[in-house]
Symmetry: C2
Subunit: 501 residues, 2 copies
């Protein structure tokens, strides 16, 4: 046992306590806190962010990490401990040059920003959000600048934070491949979109009944309410205090049945991941999902790959019909499955179908690149946004709310995050073909037996938390790196069949 | 402006940030957290309690407080700043001799204890809670021991924490006066209890409708949902992050209409107090209610003095009838007002009527005295409890759940708190007679105009937070100290009239 590691553990425990408190404060602001709470609470968040920062970024921890990096110490460390030291060293290097008071001010800024963004979106005024967004971007550039070495591109640093080893070069190649395959496919599909009628989806669906069904389907896919909570918020999200306290939210629309069902399955996928991180590493720097790409692969595997399949709905659809007999008794299973897969180029990312989804991501990726390469300014965003939508999807938002203000991410300083969604979709498809080769996936779904699927993912991915990165997880499981071909194959097969192309 | 105070302010801000986070963690455990969350979260609570402790109990703060106590510095301080220094000095002296690791362990212990108590209560087994309770009492004795001076009685120290200037001597006199008046009055009333029929109260009342009415009545008495939240929990309570984020809970029983209505009015009284603490002092050591006695005076003023009056229900009762027409259309206003005031000696404090309530408190007070004077042991509690109920109320609990396990307080280490409830009732009655002499209280109630009542209390009490103690508040407002005679007069007048004695 390493004495040095034991010393480090004290600092880690303290830092995790701050993180847990901050997570709860953010969760609470999004789900419950009264509207006038924000200003005072933001001060608390700022202060605790500052303390969290100082609990890790200090000379003691630097020295302990240096010692633990030496071969003699490394020999004494377990696999998990090595991973913890590695992860902490990485965040140390990310943050060590940021002055604590700037980190605290940034924490306070982003705590307030999501409410400012929400109000601006409601008022449909990008101008109301612009100054805050400018401040956030300025901080992001400054923080990335502190740690950049000569020749580093700032945006590459951010991309690498969310997905180790990824850069603009790699992502350009990835997205170009996808664009080449999907844009023509989407055109073919769009031409036949009238062949699927999903008007049933926009009838009136009682909120309480939707909430009950959401809870049911969440449990059905494997989310465990002894360790989890489902609440409502303006935008669905997942968060966790630790592996025994994982929380998801949904937003119910009474005139849209699908919206909440699929966001709940999606967030359940994230939640299941966090719930099955091993007890030995929860509340440590590797005690959560490995990367955002892997995280999105789990949520998207549940939401799209299985959640939109006919096999999945075969045992489940009668239950949905029972819940909403008036609206659905005349809608057949086949019609419903076609409806939930209908592809229509649309303005809103979170409502996009699987086929056009990646294009929404590509747009954000290209815009973030331009922002961080100083090719555009914050005030150019609405115009650039609208041009890109016209170019890739053939439609242009009429309002900022339906355009550049639609996503919460930038208000939280999450630049470099969006590509994870597309990477996640691609990984999910790759996992799908692999899993089909080692288990009777479709039979399980038709039988309503989702336990072996969850257990497979628990063992292949979840339990490791962030002790392994995306590439390691994929290589160890499938002996193959991320490969976009599976994703293209999956979409092509699926949509060719669905639309009889 | 005092530079020394500005330095102290840094420490205060940090300590308040910890307190706010801890408040939210506790709130969350009681209202929302999944059942398996507790063990990991308790570690976080323990750690943050330790940090909170160290943020104040350290040589820097000690020195700053010493300097600020000097006449030269005092001259430079505003009224609020003086009060902050005084309050902080008091808590410093309470805590300075406690070793930080003991404080942290105690924080972790009490974070777990409420769930252990709740389970023991459900299983109706005092034995399941006994070891935890013993540990808590041992800590309380140890902590009080650290700061006791020669001749100090430990329980006096605890009483003084909740109510400055109060001791067993003072409380014995107070309670003896009450006992002498109330025990005979209660006997007379009990003999005539069949004269009031309140069987309507235990019909079936839909939960959603009760919740909606609870929210309505809370707002009606002056609770502001822009700064507040109402949630459900096993036991109703009030907490606050700061003056713009105050939270109350209720518990709905579908076979008891009164229970939630009056606990919501009660908690709203606490909540209104916290909401109207002045902005200048929120998130400081004097940024909350002055004492538990004064706090209970506010909750009891709303719940009992006005909330159970005929004038209060005159405009409100039709709304309640409309909400529950089946159950209440044949119950007249007068019958309802008699029902909500019916006095029946019963086992459960929180369900007790106004008349017998003080006896429940006296029992707890006498038991705590014996515990801290080492006259009884923890294992004696169930027996002693039952004997006291037989002696004062003439009834004996058949189970521990209905007896010694009924209250949450001891699981949170709140010894010395219970007397506040009786003090609060007495202060509320004293306020009542005073307010009647300066405003048309009854007219306001009959007109459904509660704003002047709230504003009066805001200005007389709430805005000052803890910058003034109970005695100062009462003296400045009414030029009279706490006087139990008003309470006895109030109860005697009320129950003589109600039961035609």
């Amino acid at each position: 046992m390493s004495q040095t590691f034991e010393k480090l553990k004290q600092y880690i425990d303290k830092s995790m306590a701050y993180q847990t408190a901050l997570t709860l404060l953010h969760w609470d602001l999004e789900t419950l806190a009264p509207e006038e709470s924000m200003n005072n609470t933001a001060k608390v968040i700022g202060l605790l962010s500052g303390e969290e920062f100082k609990s890790i970024i200090n000379d003691d921890v630097r020295q302990l990490l240096e010692e633990l990096g030496q071969p003699k110490e490394q020999e004494m460390l377990s696999f998990n401990q090595k991973a913890i030291v590695k992860a902490l060293t990485k965040s140390y290097e990310q943050m060590e040059h940021i002055p604590p008071e700037e980190y605290q001010a940034y924490g306070e800024l982003t705590a307030k920003a999501s409410a400012i963004w929400a109000k601006a979106k409601e008022a449909n005024s990008f101008e109301d959000f612009r100054p805050t967004l400018s401040d956030i971007i300025a901080y992001q550039k400054k923080f990335a600048g502190y740690r950049s070495k000569e020749g580093d591109k700032l945006y590459n640093l951010l991309l690498n934070d969310y997905e180790e080893g990824f850069s603009m070069e790699k992502l350009d190649a990835f997205f170009n491949k996808i664009k080449a395959a999907i844009i023509p496919l989407l055109k073919e599909v769009a031409a036949k979109q009238d062949s699927i009628d999903k008007s049933y989806n926009n009838l009136h669906y009682d909120k309480e009944k939707q909430l009950n069904f959401a809870k049911f389907v969440s449990e059905y896919v494997g989310y465990d309410f002894k360790k989890g909570v489902l609440a409502e918020s303006a935008h669905p999200f997942t968060t966790h205090l630790h592996n025994h306290d994982v929380r998801i939210t949904t937003h119910i629309y009474e005139n849209n049945l699908e919206s909440s069902i699929f966001s709940v399955i999606h967030e359940s996928g994230h939640g299941i991941y966090e719930m099955y991180v091993d007890d030995a590493i929860t509340m440590t720097p590797v005690g959560q999902g490995s990367s955002m790409g892997i995280h999105e692969s789990q949520s998207r595997f549940y939401e799209n790959i299985i959640g939109r399949s006919q096999a999945f709905w075969t045992p489940l659809y009668p239950k949905l019909q029972e819940t909403f007999p008036e609206q659905l008794s005349n809608v057949t299973l086949l019609q419903f499955v076609k409806g939930i897969n209908k592809a229509v180029p649309s303005l809103i990312r979170t409502e996009a179908d699987e086929l056009s989804y990646s294009l929404h991501i590509i747009i954000r990726y290209e815009i973030e690149k331009m922002l961080f390469e100083d090719e555009i300014k914050v005030e150019d965003l609405p115009t650039v946004w609208n041009q890109k939508y016209e170019e890739y999807l053939g439609i242009e938002p009429e309002t900022d709310s339906d355009g550049v203000l639609q996503d919460i991410h930038w208000s939280g300083g999450m630049f470099g995050y969006f590509p994870s969604y597309a990477l996640g979709s691609a990984i999910a498809a790759q996992l799908y073909y692999y899993m089909r080769s080692v288990m009777p996936l479709e039979t399980y779904l038709k039988e309503g037996n989702l336990v072996p699927i969850r257990e497979f993912l628990n063992n292949a991915i979840h339990k490791y938390g962030a002790t392994k990165n995306t590439n390691e997880l994929l290589m160890e499981l499938m002996n193959e790196e991320l490969n976009a071909d599976y994703y293209i194959k999956y979409l092509t097969e699926k949509y060719t069949k669905l639309y009889n192309l």
